[in-house]
Subunit: 410 residues, 2 copies
Amino acid sequence: MDRRFVYLDYNATTPLHPEVKAEMIADLELYANASSMHEAGRRARARIEKARSSVARLIGAPDPACVYFTSGGSESNNTVFGTMYDLGRRGRVDEAKSHAGRRQKIITTAIEHPCVLNAARRLADEGFPVVFLGVDAQGRVDFAELERELDPERSRGGPALLVSVMAANNEIGTLEDIPAIARLAKAAGAFVHTDATQAAGKIPIDVESWGVDYLTLSCHKIYGPKGIGALYVRKTAPIEPLIRGGHQEKGVRAGTYNNLGIYGFGKAAELALAELPSYASRVAALRERLRAGIVERIPSVHVNGHPTKVLPNTLNVSFPGAEGEAILLSLDLEGIEVSTGSACASGSLEPSHVLMATGVGPELAHGSIRFSLGRDTTEADIDYVLERLPPIIARLRRMSTVPASLSATT
Amino acid sequence: MDRRFVYLDYNATTPLHPEVKAEMIADLELYANASSMHEAGRRARARIEKARSSVARLIGAPDPACVYFTSGGSESNNTVFGTMYDLGRRGRVDEAKSHAGRRQKIITTAIEHPCVLNAARRLADEGFPVVFLGVDAQGRVDFAELERELDPERSRGGPALLVSVMAANNEIGTLEDIPAIARLAKAAGAFVHTDATQAAGKIPIDVESWGVDYLTLSCHKIYGPKGIGALYVRKTAPIEPLIRGGHQEKGVRAGTYNNLGIYGFGKAAELALAELPSYASRVAALRERLRAGIVERIPSVHVNGHPTKVLPNTLNVSFPGAEGEAILLSLDLEGIEVSTGSACASGSLEPSHVLMATGVGPELAHGSIRFSLGRDTTEADIDYVLERLPPIIARLRRMSTVPASLSATT
């Protein structure tokens, strides 16, 4: 096949959906400050409320007022952890009407996105008891450990204040059982947060049946613009601003409304919801074509993550004996864009914290590649990868000192 | 004159500069995650660094690495105050290499934007000594009070940790003498922050001669997109992330790069710097035409702010005997868009905190209108306002119970 450009890094970010792009170009004129009282301001504001309803529909939130716009997933996650900081500190606990006692314990997982991990570590630095739950070899949360950590009689740190578990892992695509986790957490009196940044647009989301108090969304993962995200906050859950100032977003998030980002988010959410069924079946078939082709053509590979409880678009594969970054750069020369681990952790020499948590060991973790497919991916793209990848792996393995068979399984 | 649309709310927000718009439309395709290692990611990243250099040039920062991108002015300001929280707390003070002792005192002014006021109030809630300096009748900081508050022998709260004074006021346009304020603050060992959100693009900014440690910028005030801003941090000044997570912006600000916003900001900064001299002389002449016309045609008005040390585009006028919101809505019906106070405080029934701080009294504060001019404002726009405004004021004054002459001066 002729050289082509194949973008398989949709979990890092997505291009704009053509309809989002068209809407954004049309909206470049709608510049008024949505807090202004004059007509242009009121018109800008009405459009924002329309977008809020679209985002609410994407996640099954009956009341759009529970959706707050932020600058992205990292800000949404940090806002939740900042709220827990306010709630859990001595002297402030009594202000949290929903929580009696001095709840401070934070339960999250070892495979969260760096922004949750670092927000949780910050609370640990402040003296909060923080637990990072382990996962099994497929990346699923250990329920026995969760139940133990939720029980103050069987674990340290007192009753839990928050349980935060991502809906879908960004690196390996494994889906967590959020409804079951939320049931356990709520029974123990904790608030429940899920980072649904990678889940949105790829699997159905329903805040009601999931039973979460907080849910994080990012727009640029669903074919919308960057720099805009949202936080769902259940009406009964407390929320404190991370960015203080003007009265925007009912005082929960100050700063002039990002009209263009919000309009693009509304359109992207609307499209993501409408296209979900066709998207999911299409990319799942392409993913399977890629997986089967790799396993057939390349010896000693290890497919990371869960075989079925997985995002339809994500395939994470370890190629023992070849180094992930070298594979990435070799594929890049062929016009194929993938990632090792996540973009947010790139530049780091550490092996993926997600793969390490699944127990694959550093060799496999260092030799892993994340293929993340999207709505523009074609069969020809997959076939091109299946043509160019095997000789790259063979060449790198010849150059390597690590035996290809090391701890590898197919 | 025929009815026309006259936007005079440029301090609330600005439309996109046509060249920024053209660049953003062209850039809608550059979607790659700027943290990704592949070629598209590296290309996206290179464009971000080019934009960073343009923003650095706008504020005279010799090293672009001192510029951090944020989601806007509110986030930048909150990041500075969050850093002060970390520095000033017991147990953490020793970590701040630049500051000996337990410096906690925050000195700011009564006329700051709500995001600085509320970030400062948050520190006050946490037990930090916080002082809001008064201003004179023209909105200039009281230097005698500043000197006293910087002297631990003559004031309470110990030595100052931070002095934060805005470069230009958003409501009345008054310019503060930042270089002089910074000299006093540095002599007392305090860090210096200025919110230059309203100053940027309207007056020259030079972080070196100003001598500030931190400077806040917002892109949507300089004819660029919303949802993007920057924080300048002097190399010797500490900075702590508000949004924790990935390693973006050297760990100071996590979250996927907002490519489009950053590219737009770079272009807007470049244009703002290039067009500043012609912009400033043009809008200053239009502002004077508006001021002289209002004073000539409407009896008993009061021009707020400083007569000469003022943003070239901002004219704040009180019309005693007429209520600000009623004037705004009446002008809106004529197609003229202005604001009372600031957009970020709209919806509040309180009189402007800025005008109250200048001592004009609640009647004048309630009857004030901010006209903020911009690069698209024409003489015909001004003449249209001068035609439509006088009958509105006369009508509202007839309906009012407050005498028009009350505490009014021209």
